[in-house]
Symmetry: C2
Subunit: 479 residues, 2 copies
């Protein structure tokens, strides 16, 4: 039997089933496919092209601040992984173990990296000599495995792709400054490339990275008002340096331990983008990371001159270094409109015989659906202005969603009501005790997201124990 029923299929509306809507977009926009191995995913060409844009932009930001890329081995001997107790405790339950090489059982089993602090420390132990070599500002792009029980495309899968930055510094101050710089780098990237506002803050001890002295995070709010942790930056002090015997000769000619950071962001950012901007017609992509920024659709393309006119528009826009595609396939214009809406292409340029007569084309925005007729002489200027408008509008809508659904509360009952209602971020005071944090989970069903870097400095009461305190904290239901 023939199998050729490719259509632009409808997706589940987000109001009906947000989770199903999300999965529909992932599959029907052809971003991912499920793999034969349970919990693993395939990044298809369109999904991977988004990731390539993310990588290119972010890598450029890292390099501007002096970071260099390296590649560390993917397998970590168990004994090496175990040298730092907290780290291994944090990751042991989700490590995949290689126990056979060829037909031989290995003497020591090897962990597929869940994260690479241990490998970087082991390397620095071998090569670091003098303070003159510091800081070492390293990064690598790779995949990692964490053996999660329940998985969802981009958000939680057993293998995911990421970058992991690892740096060592002469002083604690420099390492702390690096930790903050990279958190700001993530936030700037989310604003400028993903059109996504975030809350910058610090994790509580309960939520911080295994082995870190401090973990900083950016938290974004999805359209269902849940939180998505979108990047983290960790300060380790000299804890790993001591555990892995990483030393250097200091300015005082004595052996010292360097201070360390690590920071990571992942393919999860694509999931964040989907749940921040997309709608019931499919994906909506911010122009900076869209694999196709403008699609040119010829109307009545069999009529004389139409394909040439469309190709001319494509060439003019390509000359601006935009990512442009012309679709001159045999599908109807209507099918194409639906198709590129599903794929989240920011702008669609249409041109047909009538437009040609009037020396104009029609430009449709994916974010608002608005259409404008544009004189052909103004094509370049209009497209560039519209791409900027699309970005700014996506950011403004996401910011409104974040602001409209962030609430200042003083009691845990209010937080619970929010969590059981339409959700959101609850901003309260917090006394700093683990007990009250656990009680919020237990009673109100929320986890702490972060203590925002912008603290109000006011005095208030912990919503659980009622103690007077000053720390502002965000709570929410997280992915």
């Amino acid at each position: 039997m023939a199998k050729d029923q490719r259509n632009v299929e409808a997706i589940t509306p987000m109001e009906v089933d947000f989770a199903k809507w999300y999965t529909d977009i992932c599959l029907k926009a052809e971003l991912v496919d499920y793999a034969s191995v349970k919990g693993f995913m395939i990044l298809r060409p369109y999904g991977y092209a988004i990731w390539e844009n993310i990588q290119r932009i972010m890598d450029g930001m890292f390099k501007k601040t002096g970071h260099v890329n390296v590649a560390m081995p993917v397998l970590i001997p168990e004994s090496l992984l175990k040298k730092e107790g907290e780290l291994v405790e944090g990751f042991a339950p989700e490590v995949a173990w290689v126990t056979m090489g060829g037909s031989e059982k290995l003497e020591e089993r090897l962990a597929f990296r869940p994260t690479s602090e241990t490998m970087f420390c082991d390397h620095w132990h071998n090569v670091l000599q003098s303070y003159r070599e510091l800081p070492m500002l390293y990064n690598q792009w790779c995949s990692v495995i964490r053996w999660e029980k329940t998985t969802r495309p981009f958000l939680r899968s057993r293998e995911f792709w990421w970058q992991e930055g690892h740096t060592i510094h002469e002083t604690a101050e420099e390492a702390i400054a690096e930790t903050e710089q990279q958190l700001n780098c993530y936030a700037d990237f989310c604003r400028d490339a993903l059109a996504m506002p975030v809350v910058k803050g610090r994790k509580t001890d309960k939520e911080k990275f295994a082995g870190a002295e401090a973990t900083y995070t950016i938290e974004a709010m999805m359209k269902d008002h849940k939180a998505l942790q979108s990047g983290t930056s960790h300060y380790f002090g000299d804890k790993f340096s001591r555990a892995y015997d990483v030393t250097f000769t200091g300015r005082d000619n004595k052996l010292q331990y360097p201070f360390q950071t690590s920071w990571g962001s992942t393919t999860r950012l694509i999931g964040a983008c989907i749940m921040t901007h997309s709608d019931n017609n499919g994906l909506v992509l911010p122009p900076a990371i869209a694999p196709i920024q403008v699609v040119v659709v010829p109307v009545a393309q069999h009529k004389p001159g139409v394909l040439d006119a469309a190709a001319a528009l494509r060439d003019r826009l390509t000359a601006l270094e935009l990512r442009v595609k012309m679709d001159d396939s045999e599908q109807s214009p209507g099918w194409k409109y639906a198709q590129y809406e599903m794929k989240g292409v920011p702008l669609r340029v249409e041109i047909g015989p009538k437009d040609m007569e009037k020396q104009q084309c029609c430009i449709a925005r994916r974010d608002t659906g608005e259409k404008v007729f544009v004189p052909l002489t103004e094509l370049e200027a209009t497209v560039q202005a519209l791409l900027k408008e699309v970005h700014d509008n996506l950011y403004a809508m996401a910011e409104k969603n974040l602001e409209d659904n962030t609430f200042d509360f003083t009691t845990w009952e209010e937080v619970k009501e929010m969590a059981q209602g339409k959700g959101g971020f609850a901003r309260t005071k917090w006394c700093g005790s683990l007990e009250c944090e656990l009680a919020m989970k237990e009673k109100a069903g929320v986890s702490s997201r972060c203590m925002p870097l912008k603290q109000s400095g006011t005095v208030g009461k912990c919503p659980v124990c009622g103690k007077e305190c000053t720390t502002d904290i965000y709570w929410g239901v997280a992915y």
Copy 2:
């Protein structure tokens, strides 16, 4: 005790010990470091920067011919791997197996990909529907594991980094054309980016890829006259499609099996570059892939104006989009000269007070050691011309090495004499039998490298059995 003895250390001359010379360069130019896991390597910043340049250039070539990148899972279920018998037989002895996920033993063990034909087929089995979707021209950049017994940096390691292209086509002709196109792509890349001539040819049945109908290869000659297989391109027919049930509805509305190719090149190319161009002063890099193309060294930098003059040169060259570094560290100019020679930087620009007086700078070439004094007004033009000359000279020298050490022989005794002497490529006729190929290994100590695409068409005798035949073939000792 202080540890601060970083020096530009001498390396073992290649005439004394070629293998040691090679390893010295890998380590002292800071390309790689050994890892805690036996047989694995670390790509350090300088080594990885070379790989980034290779990736950028090659990826651009792939994309120009319509290829797109994807990411497939790193783990392959044993049952999936086993569906195509020849492939699994070829790779089974060197597969690393994951048998534990977290604390649980897996029901089925998972192979760390040694190559990904099976995953691509499994994916296509799920998504391919119509001939309209063909060809699918996919590629991925990733690392693979092959559990080798003996390892050497870049040349043979248990983990290595590569690209693997995988494509499916409507017809056998198209797939064969793709296989050839990608082989030519590799050869062009070697010529234009690595300044490395190669012999293009087809592997014998004995040497071809497990499961392939035909394997094409590019073979390069190293400075010790050994062969290095530097890229391969495979044609599979519809063998894997049938094994993995990959089908599409054809133009005739019937289900058909697509025809498949794969092609790969690896971090081994960096090893090829080292053994093609480098010398007893260290690495020599072709400009196209050099992380630093020009190093600017101020002479007597404490003298007034020198640092500013050097910085001005750096800025002018950077404006040409060259990769330029100025070294204004406290090390002596002599130390810096040795350091950047070790690192293979193609051009060194020196400027000191005397040069400033004369409105000139001095430019030294890494490949020949020649120095020229250049009026400052001619900086840009001279540097660009010299970079091209360095590339061309490197290519010419490598070509001379290849030509001077390729011999036409008619008997296996001559081949043996060559192999036991200074080595090289032996070009002979071959009757096509496995017995004679095995006999050449046994008697002359060489393996077949390839049957060159350029066949002479002449008649001659097989050097083993004496049978009359026409096929030209290359023999050599290979890495």
